[in-house]
């Protein structure tokens, strides 16, 4: 593999080795990604910190010359969704409310990546406050899907997924509250992970719905994501919901036979024929390889969206109360009283979708609607129990990541219920806490990416990665790139 192929298609391990062996200089590597970002017109980045990245690359080159021990991510450039704090840099959440706001500390995940010698490039676009499935609610404009610029990249981590698909970074961080890593990963033909709730610290992630939010990586393969997960996961005293689990060890190749369940939902008329066809093809291939495959009736994919919306909006209405226009963030110019300052700052600073979700959450939390909130908790528990039952017999559970391939920009932005429907399969994992990974599964007849979701038992990322890596060892779907990146 020559250097340009390595940069476009190489794994983290391959790129790191090339840098350490002197085949590729860190500065050259970083410059290449900076040029890709600058030349691209898909609006995947909100901010690019060129000088900082090059300075860091020079420091790492010096470290290598001085025979310092290279970290596990030595010289690897990465991008960060713009709702994760990187000290001294803007964290806008793609909102007018936080335009120009600078983080005063690093998120724990950022410290852990930097400790392994990764290089921060810049911040990627998202739906405002991570509320959306297309990046169309971003204050900084929609990101374009690298496979078809007339279509959305998914969301809310659409900028991160598009950046990986278009070769602008080796990996990127996103956040996933109802599918915000896995849905854009599927729409952009890349791999995205939401780990078990409690595995990855949320310290430094701007809160949307704290009981559902998880930070996670988007990258070129399950192998790369497993390495990132091994670095960013683990207990953090600054996030009391992280668990004291053993340090994750990267798994080796396996020849074991998996017990695989797949949802009967794939026969639903709502699933696009291309997605159904590709999932059935991979299941046939797995059967031929000697794995045990079974269809399972999972009865909650229809119910996960209402439950997710009710619980996440309720939490958001509380979490976003902190934006008062006084201590930080947007402040209205037109006010006569303190109350008017609050009301107008929030009315003018938040976009349409964020206001809709805060209002819905506030409405749900009113005493008269309490039954809707508690009923959602009941269904959430049923979903968790149903998945636990599946994992008493099976290693992994397969669903489509989405019903359809990426939709056109503007196609459903005015229809919140259809937009929410995008989260049906992915939000299951957020409600139950289980880990889920979306892996690419080829293209539709129109050359649009398809994604498949693999779910595993809680805290069983090892099994999840073993299976995802196995599929990527017998197929080449994850190596498909948009024409302009090839």
């Amino acid at each position: 593999m020559n250097n340009s192929e390595l940069i476009a298609k190489g794994s983290i391990k391959e790129i790191r080795e090339a840098v350490i062996n002197g085949k590729l200089h860190t500065v050259e590597l970083v410059n290449c990604f900076i040029q890709r970002i600058k030349n691209n017109r898909i609006n995947s980045f909100i901010s690019l910190y060129e000088d900082n990245a090059l300075k860091r690359a020079e420091e790492l080159d010096k470290k290598l010359k001085n025979r310092g021990k290279p970290g596990k991510l030595f010289g690897i450039p990465y991008a960060v969704k713009d709702n994760i704090a990187v000290k001294g840099y803007e964290v806008t959440c793609a909102s007018k409310m936080l335009k120009n706001y600078k983080a005063t500390y690093n998120a724990t995940v950022i410290n852990r990546l930097n400790d392994e010698d990764a290089i921060f490039l810049g911040k990627t676009n998202l739906d405002e406050f991570a509320m959306g499935s297309s990046t169309e609610t971003s204050y900084f404009g929609t990101t374009l899907n690298p496979w078809d610029n007339s279509r959305v990249p998914g969301g809310s981590s659409g900028g991160s997924a598009a950046a990986i698909a278009s070769g602008e970074s080796v990996f990127a961080l996103g956040s996933d509250t109802g599918g915000s890593i896995r849905q854009p990963a599927a729409f952009c033909g890349v791999t995205g992970l939401k780990a078990t709730y409690g595995c990855v610290s949320r310290f430094g992630l701007v809160a949307f719905a704290s009981s559902l939010d998880q930070v996670g990586p988007i990258g070129r393969s399950a192998e790369d994501l497993e390495l990132i997960f091994s670095i960013i996961s683990g207990f953090d005293k600054k996030d009391t919901t992280t668990k004291r689990i053993e340090n994750y060890k990267v798994s080796g190749p396996t020849k074991r036979k998996f017990n695989i369940a797949y949802t009967n939902d794939i026969f639903s008329e709502e699933i696009s024929p291309d997605i159904k066809g590709n999932i059935l093809s991979i299941l046939n291939l797995l059967k031929e390889e000697g794995h045990n495959i079974s269809e399972v009736a999972f009865n909650f994919s229809k119910h996960s969206v209402p439950v997710y919306q009710i619980l996440s909006c309720s939490e958001a209405s509380s979490n976003l109360a902190r934006y008062d226009g006084i201590r930080y963030g947007y402040q209205t110019k037109s006010y006569k009283s303190l109350l008017e300052l609050y009301n107008r700052s929030r009315g003018e600073g938040f976009g349409e979708e964020v206001k809709r979700r805060i209002l819905f959450g506030t409405y749900i939390l009113m005493a008269k609607n309490n039954a809707l909130y508690t009923s959602s908790f009941k269904v959430s528990r049923l979903i968790r129990e149903n998945l636990e039952n599946i994992f008493t017999e099976y290693d992994v559970f397969i669903t489509p990541t989405t019903f359809n391939p990426p939709f056109k920009i503007g196609e459903i932005i005015d229809d919140p219920i259809r937009m929410h429907h995008s989260d049906a399969f992915t939000s299951i994992c957020n409600l139950s806490g289980n880990p889920g990974i979306s892996i690419p599964l080829g293209l539709t007849g129109n050359n649009l990416p398809i994604g498949m979701q693999i779910i595993a038992k809680r805290f069983d990322e090892n099994n999840l990665f073993q299976f995802a890596k196995y599929i990527q060892s017998i197929t080449d779907y994850h190596k498909c790139l948009p024409e302009e990146v090839k």
Binding site: K102, G347, F360, Y363, L372
Partner: protein
């Protein structure tokens, strides 16, 4: 479930969000559609739509709370820089007693 303009105004008032008349009309339709759709879907499961739920059985009970110990923060200047208005190291807010003084 009936949602009217007063419900939206009340939610906006609690959430401290100023809405125009057009926004109130739009959100009234959106929230009505969402609530009806969600309620219909949840009813299919035949679970009791009541407030009887033991939250202690959820994952909330597994959260390990840390001790509330004050700590020094040595980066106060950056906090000031993010504030819209600062005077004498204090956040500036409109007076709330002015009318009473008159």
């Amino acid at each position: 479930m009936e949602i009217n303009r007063e419900d939206i105004k009340k939610s906006a008032n609690i959430a401290k969000i100023y809405l125009t008349q057009d926004e109130i009309s739009k959100y009234m339709i959106d929230l009505k559609d969402m609530t009806e759709e969600f309620l219909d879907t949840l009813k299919e499961l035949n679970i009791s739509l009541d407030t009887d739920f033991d939250f202690n059985t959820t994952s909330l009970k597994y959260t390990n709370l840390r001790q509330d110990i004050p700590d020094n923060f040595n980066n106060i200047e950056t906090i000031y820089k993010n504030a819209p208005k600062i005077k004498n190291n204090l956040f500036v807010v409109p007076g709330i007693l002015r009318e009473n003084k008159k």
